[in-house]
């Protein structure tokens, strides 16, 4: 499966840790330098879950529902493949950059 840049970043963030949606949005803003709305985040995670790339766990806190996300083994594998693909693409771009 091909990952979009947003999906790739989200999977990267939850590759090692199980994180709540709000925490993912915060890390995304810090690491990617752009804000990600909660709607986009949760719908992207729904798609990733549908493809078996992440697992969701629901919990509750004093404000209501909290959804925790974590990449599955399949998700990590796809992430590695996409990483290699992006690296190859970047190398191609660097090699063919005008002097």
């Amino acid at each position: 499966m091909k990952l979009s840049p947003v999906e790739f970043r989200i999977l990267n963030i939850i590759a090692t840790d199980e994180l709540a949606g709000r925490e993912i949005a915060k890390r995304y803003a810090t690491e990617a330098g752009s804000r990600l709305s909660y709607g986009t985040l949760y719908t992207t995670c729904r798609r990733l879950k549908e493809n078996g790339l992440l697992r969701v766990r629901d919990s509750l806190d004093s404000d209501g529902r909290v959804r925790f996300f974590r990449a599955t083994g399949n998700g990590i594998k796809t992430l590695d493949e996409t990483r290699a693909e992006f690296a190859a693409l970047a190398n191609f771009g660097l090699n063919h950059a005008p002097a």
Binding site: G21, Y38, Y42, T43, D58, L60, R65
Partner: protein, 200 residues
């Protein structure tokens, strides 16, 4: 247990807030162990951990006893906290069909969140859960903005923007994408042509 409305003193509210936070902290601190314990008990119930060796069997029994004691201890702490603040905090409101209102005497949630809360009834199961999570996240955001000293109007506008542009819109778009946009556009064109034929 339903809390008594309009009967919370600031001190009680503070205590309740601390205890609810403690309840969440207990769960957070032991979440991995609790999950492992649940998995272990599930495997045991399914009979996937059975063995014939008496020594192993005794060890398994001992492990089961320890796991049950551990889950009972954590459950005990959580229920004790619920018992202490049950008359102040509506724990039923935290069920999957929860409302945003947690404290009995809190004013109703801001309009954008009520709008979002109403929107969830038009969504499927998965998106309903997502909307509920978005509401909880926005409540936290609103609290952070209030703590940062932003004005009421600013917070309301920010919540409205985040609810509509950052909540409802992406979910509606996702819904369209799931419905396969192409067939939707084809249906629209078909009816548009039919209407045009009738008119002209």
């Amino acid at each position: 247990m339903h809390p008594h409305r309009h009967s919370i003193t600031p001190k009680q509210r503070e205590l309740a807030q601390k205890l609810v936070a403690a309840k969440a902290a207990v769960w957070w601190a032991y979440r991995k162990k609790l999950r492992d314990a649940e998995e272990f008990l599930e495997l045991l119930a399914e009979g996937r951990l059975s063995c014939n060796d008496p020594n192993e069997l005794a060890e398994l029994d001992d492990m089961e006893r320890q796991v049950r004691e551990f889950t009972a201890e954590i459950g005990g702490i959580q229920s004790k906290i619920e018992g202490e603040v049950g008359h102040l905090v509506d724990f039923n409101a935290l069920d999957p069909d929860f409302d945003i209102l947690v404290f009995a005497d809190l004013p109703p949630p801001p309009l954008p969140l009520r709008l979002l809360s109403g929107f969830r009834w038009f969504c499927g199961k998965e998106h309903r859960a997502n909307v509920e999570a978005i509401i909880a996240d926005l409540v936290k955001d609103a609290r952070t903005m209030n703590a940062d000293g932003h004005g009421k109007t600013f917070v309301s506008l920010a919540l409205a923007w985040r609810s509509v542009a950052g909540g409802i819109l992406p979910i509606v778009c996702d819904g369209f994408r799931r419905l396969k946009c192409a067939s939707l556009i084809a249906a629209f064109l078909y009816y548009a042509r039919w209407v045009l034929r009738k008119l002209l």
